[in-house]
Amino acid sequence: MNKLERKDFLKLAGGAVAGGLVGTTLSGAPFNALQWLVEWTQDQYRPTGGSETFRQGVCSACGTDISVRLIGDRAVKVETANAGCPVCQTLIQILYHPERVRKPLKRVGGKGSGRFAPVEWSEAIKDISDKIKELRAQNKAHTVAAFNGAHNMLAGALVERLLAAIGSGHVYNEPCFCSLSAKAAKLTQNSEGALDYDFENSDYVLSFGARLFEGWGNQARMHRVLNRWKADGVKLVQIDTLGTRTASMATKWVPVKPGTEAYLALGIAYKLIMSYGKGGNLPELGRWPGINDFNPEKVAELTGVPAVTIDEIAREFAGARRAVAVAGRGGEMVSSSVGEIIAVQCLNKLTGRMGVPGGVFVKIKNDRLGAVRQDAAAQAGMAATRKAKGLDDFIKNGEKPELLFVNDANPVHTSVFGKDLAGKMKDIPMVVAIMTMKNDTARYADYILPSLTILESKTARGDAAVAPRYSAKHGADIILEIAKSVEGVAASFPWSGYADMAALVGVERRPQGNFNLNIEVLRTYLDMLKKNLEGAAEMPLALIPYEIPLVGNGASLSLPYVLKGVGREDFAFERLIVKMNPETANAMGACENSSVKLKSSRGKTASLKVHLTKTVAPGVVAVPMGFGHCESTRYAEEKGVNPLEIMTANIDPESGTADWWFTRVKLS
């Protein structure tokens, strides 16, 4: 064997390296590697393709027909054709939200720990129905309670029916304009419905703090109404403490001292009676000696609205053919006392605007589900129920329930007593939450049952746009299943599924011209208002809430596309913003971007960032609602503060709801 020379070895090695390089180059490996490098650095996700189809549906938030664009079986876009509400556009995000509840969840950690484990539907339903059976057997049917979300039509009606069949009257709705105005209609018009303004035919609209284009009522309808008002030159007079978008869109903005809307309403009523001869329509008000306290000079002092403006509004209101006065302060979250709604209703009665086109109607729930069959246990339970006046009243003063249903509601976040409720929920033996995504209230639940989103729900007109995902069920179906597994309750639920019932629950508008003014309710409210407005000298500022379009009460903050739309003048750099007039800031030693905390008699908020704007009256601070969730998906949690925690908690004796509109605060 020849000895390998050093030179030959180097040649061989060199040849091998050169050959390897040429081989590698020609093999295409470097190009592949480069391709991988590009892909790795760019890391693009490619949505899967498929054929395009459109399915029809209805947005139950606004009742608008929608068309859903699908690629293969994926819903990618909701088309509304210049109608609808912003919620329509968020439906896809709700449908595919990664934090949707996929299976029934059972609590595994301590109460309020937020730790849950998935269980089978059968196990959850059995556990819940066993609890109902146990309570009924112990004559404790009346200790079952339920909270319904606002405007939760079908499932809400079924929850009410379930409790009636079990034997409890403790069903409370999250407060909204409908529930508050229904109490006013009950007292003055002996009606079971909510107030419904005929904006489509009005020619003069006097709004007492109702931010009509910022989430108030049905947004799709209000947008249509806006277009008609613009086309027909309808006059909108907006009475509001803040320079909101609605105030700027109005024909006239009447700035009013915070919380004094009812005084202004009575001041206008005084003028209608004394100067414009409208007293005959409501003699009770004219006869009431207290009305003399609301002469224009006095009201001007109370509200900050000049006497001449009050006279001008009264003259225009009396002179318009189809005027209507609108109550219900706020946007999606309305905070008005029954007394204040009645004060505004007086104007409609004085000018004969009750139950006539362009005036105010009553919207009655049209429930054709039939009578509930109550057995002995249910009748005993109903007799033992000491019903609270409303949700806040029940949280604060109600007896502790043994079983609580939370149907698509979030009172831990939306009630001023949220913290008290959270504390109380820890002691309730069983809490059942029915919802699509975990929220602040569900944190304290024992069971979370997943319900369908709007796109997955069948409508009265036909099929759903998208097949149900995961093992979620329609809220009404969940209630049906629970009801059917309890003997004595099942008889009231003969339906096989929610689609059978969709057409049985609706609302109907009725003209109702009767109006009996309950002076006592008005007087009690005025006393309460006076006390609240006076306040102590150490709390020199008034806190007035506002809502950001899309965010509303905060339920939609869990959607990233909604978060992306929150403006920097409301929430920036992870800090919630408090708006105040430069004069206020000067007096209080604050400046643009400085950090302040708000302190009321109920507590103190976390730090807020100051933004100076003259849209806010001197002496007033404005804070957006909907932020400060403790549990509401990774997108909404721990963002900002919830001002409701420090807001006024005086419970309105008629509606049982806290009137939190006006709160005395100071900076700290």
């Binding site: 996700y45 876009k77 109608a83 556009q89 595919y96 284009f213 700027s248 596309y561 739309g565 403006g567």
Partner: protein, 271 residues
Amino acid sequence: MMNVRWGMSIDLDKCTGCGACQISCMQENNMPIFDEDSDIPKRVTFLDLMKVTNDFEGGKKYGEVQTAFIPKMCMQCSGNDPKNPHPPCVTVCPVVATDVGDDGIVSQIWSRCIGCRYCQAACPYEARVFNWWKPRYEGDFKQGLNSDVSVASRGTVVKCTFCSHIWKRERDRAIAGGETDINKVTYTPACVSACPTGAIVFGDLNNPNSPVYETRLKNDPRAVRMVHSIDQQPENERARRMRIKDYPNPKVYYLSSQKWLRDIISGFQNS
């Protein structure tokens, strides 16, 4: 040959700031999703719904100050001569990732972009955004992605294209239906079709029957274009200035009856 020049007009008197246009745009164009989407420096959107007030006007008191919303997207600039368009961003792009079509739409191909951000600096309207982070679509959010729009990768500039992918979709549909005249193809961008008050309208700037006929818009006392104060100059002064400099000449018109709002949009007093 395309004779159509797509343009938009936004009636701010009808805009309630509801945000439907913004969400519709995000859904249509596969906006990236981050845990911290409320964080403004990280935010990637094509359509910015700006809330403005006239606080800046000296002497305005509480009770006189107003609030308005301005939806702002890519203004689809054309430069001084719309027949030979020179948008400021297209001129500076070294890799032709952004270009202007014969229908006047300023396009952007995400995957061609090298992330130099020249265009972002050149844009007079801050209409372009840079993807600093990799877009994440947690879990099933991927299911809602539109397959007509590619997902932008980290390190690229993205922007509104007047939803030109919808035009392409409509064009293909029209051709399949036997249509041979490309100028007859019409479409509606996502923000326009979502606007519940009809504040945003879209169409052909060259067509007298279109709701956005440019000659009519230019004579509308309510109309104003964003940061385009040359519009308020007399004819001969405008011509003189345009000989010296290329102006953006945007194809989005704002309509407002409020002078203060027109002033802040145009950047020119007494507009």
